[in-house]
Assembly symmetry: C2
Homo-oligomer: 376 residues x 2
């Protein structure tokens, strides 16, 4: 008998949002009209060669690793190329970490709410999930300390910067506190950072990994480059890198040689920071349009986050409402969001929902929010 795993309810939902007349705030996708198609086409043209068509080392393309290490170092996280393992998207990095660090029955602490594909991934590894309370400043270190004492988790999973689904950022004081806790208790922390460079206001916070070697830092080309390449990376201390490489070898031998070569060629020939600047300009405008439209679209008493970057706004509706039911009414009016329940590890708050502003223009956002107002 095959083992039984439940599918993602969001995956099933997204299938319903693909009708062209639907204004979808449901996805977590980068805007395709902002992809640097020409730059990437040139990079692939340059990358295709006998060498890039052959098998390659599991650790990844040395040029790409050096280029990424350099970018991380310039962002304040000193990194050498040997600290990095290239992964098939950062989703793979999550599964590698789960396989490398978790025995079945291990405890994983997670911010609540959090990225649902991470929850799925830890569940697949047979882990028991324990939620930690969080607020506007991110995960609460006191609540975390209490969970660590009580549950002895092996791992803490966080999206510290512009979190999925809330858009919140862990502040610097709390980063220090979480890192100190990790050091004191020998806890591993996964810092999932796909959105960190998509900042629309305020000053960058240092990576959580800058405060402790107990932090495994995951990065991705998906939100700043293009997700179709499935390129991510994992920065881990030497003590676990060898195990991660062995697990990666069993997972897929190595990430596409040609996609890695193309990404390296792209990073050499183009100014990724300038491209990210253009992304931020467009996404800032979209974020602002959504935040501006919210007061007129939602019932009195609704709360929402006001993210400094990333892709998401998180709403809590007043009263006894179930957004899992509401979404069907929304779809009937050609607008979509993601109900909040699947982002909870244990007890969901059914009055929550996630809106993404990245793939819709300010005009579409205004129209979509008008449609949502009739649903709420």
């Amino acid at each position: 008998m095959p083992r039984t795993f439940s599918s993602s309810p969001v995956r099933d939902l997204l299938a319903l949002t693909s009708r062209p007349e639907v204004i979808s705030f449901a996805g977590g996708l980068p805007a395709p009209e902002l992809f640097d198609v020409e730059g990437l086409r040139e990079a692939f043209g340059e990358a295709v060669s006998r060498r890039s068509l052959q098998y390659a080392p599991t650790e990844g393309n040395p040029d790409l690793r050096a280029l990424v290490a350099d970018r991380l170092t310039r962002r304040g996280l000193p990194t050498g190329f040997a600290d990095l393992l290239v992964t098939t998207g950062s989703q793979q990095a999550l599964t590698l970490v789960a396989t490398a660090l978790l025995e079945p029955g291990a405890v994983v602490a997670v911010e609540e709410p959090t990225y649902l594909a991470a929850l799925q991934c830890f569940r697949l590894a047979g882990a028991r999930l324990v939620p930690v309370a969080s607020d506007e400043r991110g995960v609460d270190p006191d609540a975390l300390a209490e969970v660590v004492e009580r549950e002895r988790p092996e791992l803490l999973y966080l999206v510290p910067t512009f979190a999925n689904p809330t858009g919140r950022t862990l502040d610097v004081a709390r980063r220090r506190a979480v890192a100190a806790l990790a050091e004191r208790h020998g806890l591993w922390v996964v810092e999932d950072d796909p959105y960190g460079e998509l900042r629309y206001r305020g000053e960058p916070a240092p990576a959580l990994a800058a405060f402790s070697d107990r932090v495994i830092h995951l990065g991705s080309f998906s939100k700043v480059g293009a997700p179709g390449l499935r390129l991510g990376w994992l920065r881990a201390p030497e003590s676990i890198m060898r195990t991660l490489v062995i697990v990666k070898q069993a997972a897929d031998l190595h990430t596409s040689t040609i996609d890695q070569a193309a990404a390296a060629a792209y990073l050499k020939a183009n100014d990724l920071d300038a491209h990210i600047g253009r992304l931020c300009e467009a996404y800032r405008e979209r974020r602002d349009a959504m935040i501006a439209a919210l007061p007129g679209a939602v019932p009195a008493g609704t709360r929402w986050t006001d993210p400094d970057g990333g892709m998401f706004v998180w709403l809590t509706l007043p009263g006894e409402v179930d957004t899992g039911r509401l979404v069907h009414e929304a779809l009937a009016r050609d607008v979509a969001f993601v109900p909040g329940a699947p982002f909870y590890a244990t007890t969901p708050d059914h009055s929550t929902l996630r809106l993404s502003f990245t793939t819709t223009t300010p005009e579409e956002i205004a129209e979509g929010m008008r449609r949502l107002a009739t649903v709420f």
Copy 2:
């Protein structure tokens, strides 16, 4: 504490064979000079688009799945596109199957010797490996029946055509017998088929999957196209496909959109069968050169396989010899092979070794075999 996994001894060995003066029979690589670099460059040029840079469905590119289904059907394995899941190389397919079907402690039966990365993959899943005897005609159905009765394995793993490491092919009568056993006992069989189209003589045997729905068929673009794309596929019955898709989603969301689009564009614009014909011509010559040189290179009493296709010849040396030691002498004389021990699930035969003939010209093979003669 991270879990501890041992690295592949072959991986460590291959690092030693990369000196340019070494004639290496150790790899399992396709010949890079035979890659269709121009055809693939054109395919990538065509493939890069907003759509191929975006996230995509976990199941894979529908065009590519239809093209692969069509190829399998023409080879005598009736397949619809919905029967196929695109994987990040067929190595990933192995890990997906292990995750989907095996609880820790499950029993996996394997031909002995067999592909060592499959052994690693099942070990990582916490499976217990049970070897099944095989001979020149492939795995022995009587030995298999006995193992099935005694050990109740969940899964049987086979490379039925031009096996790694032996080059042997399971004959048709035994395919029927294995399929019947699988049906009778509700056993899952993994048919790993990366080499099946590389046939240098004789008539193709029908796929094992053609005889039973209990067979999960794995295919790959790595040996007939190029491994750098990391493109494989898995043909599975509907009863387990949904679980496999969920596991794949956690593993890497989906395989590189752009590599899939490029492979589909390549298959539409090129005659892959003609390309495979050219590969077979070159590899046949190399195979023949190795088989011709063997009698003059090995000690009396050595036995070797005489493969009809694939990439490998398997040797058993006479007497109490340890090829794991011998390989260091070989490397000192600038020639390399893979010692046989790691291909055994339980008790290794240290007098065995694997030679690959694909990446060396007939002249290099003749010279390499002269060097090997001085080692033996």
